[in-house]
Each structure stands twice: as C-alpha cells, then as structure tokens.
C-alpha cells in the first residue's frame, strides 16, 4: 500500500479530469493524498456556460472550485502560486527545487504528474518536467515512484502502452461530482471534445467515454 500520494498538476480541474478515480481509490484504501496545484487557471477561456466569470473574477472562482473538488475527493490541497500559461517560461530548476522542498516535507511514496512533451498543454509539459526533475534531485533512497500521465492523441504509438491502467468507471459518479465542482470549466471542456457534433447533450456520458480509464507511465530514472 502507498504511504502518501502527491498529485502535481498545473490547473484546478486537471486533478478531476485526469486522476479523480485514482485519487478516490487511494482514499478508499486510507492513503493520504495531497494535490499541489500549480496555478489558479487564471487564463482559462471557459467562463461558464452561460458566462458568469470574467478574466478578473476567474481566479477567485476557480480557487473556490478547486477547494470544493478537494472536499469531494477528500484530499489535501496546496496552491503553488504560479500563473496560468507561464510555467514553461519559469526557471525549470527553480520550480523543481520548490517542488522538491515540498516532497521532502511530505515524503510521499508516489507522485502523479503529467508526462513531459506528451501532455498537450504547455503548463502540463512544464510542470510535469519540473516534478520529474524534483524527484530526480532527491536522494535515490527517498525517491517516490512517479506515475506520468500522457494525453496526446499519439501517446500510445509514441511511448507504448502505459504500465498503470486504472478502470475507474465504478467510481465514475464521484469523479463526475468532482468535475462538476469546476462549474466555470466543466461544460466548456467536455463540449470542446466533440466540436463537430455541436452541442452534445449528456455531459456525463461523454465524460465517461473519455475519462473512464486513467492511465499512467511509470517514470524510469
């Protein structure tokens, strides 16, 4: 059994879309989970549908949303205070050392993050790379295992099959509850997947199809 799991993603909602089912599984086993959330998603373009946020109110709204989602997922939340869309321009070593300090304090047995260069959003790639570097900088005896999540359309042909494949459909209702805490984002993100279909009706059904399995590569140092 894991001792403590630390999830490192850049945006409020990455945890719910990407790893909620896995987080729920760990919490059901009694494993503590901490989410290190890189930014407040300040630059998100989804403003709710119908629109209820604007560029200036979005950060506080998303802070409330991630706080709610963390309650649903029963995990500890720490906000890292970077700014959305800028992570790739930060000094990689500085971010890695920041993360390393936190990891040395928490001493997790497992870290979940994005797979650098295979995670589509520049913030995902940059924070994933910093997280992997943070673990590399740790004393090898104390290094947690790292699960890296790839989300590009071609990741299986590029990287092979992920080693960890979690079918989380049994917990899908709670995953959906966590996703829906992100009220400003959920509908826009899900509808964005099927642009050709126009406005699709059942958000949950669409989400289940795409998000019913959470897969991770085990990082090799």
């Amino acid at each position: 059994m894991e001792k403590h799991v630390v999830v490192i993603y850049p945006h409020p909602d990455d945890e719910s879309f990407g790893a909620a089912g896995t987080i729920i599984q760990f919490r059901e086993q009694g494993v503590p989970v901490t989410y290190l959330c890189g930014t407040l998603g300040e630059m998100g373009r989804n403003m709710g549908n119908p629109t209820f946020a604007n560029r200036e109110t979005l950060p506080e709204i998303r802070k409330k949303e991630i706080t709610e989602a963390s309650k649903v997922l029963d995990m500890e939340l720490r906000l890292l205070g970077y700014r959305d869309k800028t992570l790739e321009y930060e000094d990689r070593n500085e971010v890695a050392n920041h993360l390393k300090e936190i990891l040395e304090e928490i001493q997790p047995s497992l870290v979940i993050t994005h797979y650098p260069e295979h995670a589509v959003h520049p913030d995902h790639n940059a924070l994933g790379a910093a997280a992997i570097e943070a673990v590399r900088l740790m004393n090898p005896e104390n290094r947690p295992t790292v699960w890296a999540q790839a989300i590009t359309n071609t990741h299986v042909e590029d990287l092979g099959k992920p080693e960890v494949i979690n079918d989380i459909r049994e917990n899908f209702d709670r995953k959906m509850d966590a996703i829906l805490c992100h009220q400003s984002q959920a509908s826009g993100v899900i509808r964005n997947w099927n642009q050709s279909d126009g406005v699709a009706d059942d958000l949950k059904e669409q989400a289940m199809e795409r998000l019913g399995v959470e897969a991770f590569y085990i990082w090799k140092y």
Binding site: R45, N46, E56, K85, G188, R191
Partner: protein, 117 residues
C-alpha cells in the same frame, strides 16, 4: 458581463484619455485547439499591465460585435470581436468577446490601477 452598450463604453473609454493607464490585452483560441482539431492552429497573445497613455479612444460596431481602438502618441492598440463589457472594482473597464459557448476569444481591459497579478 453584459452586452456592450456603445454610448456607455465610449464614455468610459474617454475617461481614460490623457491618463497613465494599465492595459490587459489578449486573444486566444485555447491551448487545446490543435489537440481537438488537427486542422486548427494554437494562437494566442497576452499582455498584462502594460502602462500606456492614449489621447483618443473609440469603440465601433454593428450592435453585436465591436472593435475598440486607442491612439497613442507613437502607436495604436486595438481589439476586434468584443461583445460584452463590465466595470470591475468600480473603475476597471473590462471588454471581452465570447463565442457561442461562452468562451473568451479576445479581451481588452483598461484601468488606472494595475490589474492583480
């Protein structure tokens, strides 16, 4: 935000003329544009808290979509596709253009005090 009311926005724009103001200007089609549609391109630009002074300001449009242009001593700032506006914290003028799903496509914001960083 609410649909742009030309006269009110024009009046607010003019209140900034000749003052040192902070600008937020952006346009985006999202970080996932080419992920969900391989024929699309990811394009975006963003400048926050640029400190400028303009001597003319005008908003123009057809009742649905608007353009706003600010004339400075040695240059211009403009944004196209604006649909909505609001006053934030009593003094900041926020203008944005949203698509039919409510997603922000473009924003031009002007304030006498810096935007939160």
């Amino acid at each position: 935000m609410k649909p742009i009311e030309l006269d009110k926005v024009q009046e607010k724009l003019e209140s900034f003329v000749g003052k040192d103001v902070y600008i937020h200007l952006e346009t985006t089609n999202g970080a996932y544009a080419s992920h969900v549609n391989e024929k699309a391109y990811n394009v975006g630009v963003y400048i926050r808290n640029a400190n400028v002074r303009f001597n003319q300001a005008k908003i123009v449009g057809d009742g649905r979509s608007y353009r706003a242009g600010l004339k400075m001593d040695i240059g211009w700032i403009y944004a196209e596709g604006l649909t909505d506006w609001t006053i934030h914290e009593g003094e900041k003028l926020l203008m944005a253009g949203h698509d039919r799903e409510g997603r922000l496509m473009v924003a031009l914001q002007i304030s006498e005090t810096p935007f939160n960083y």
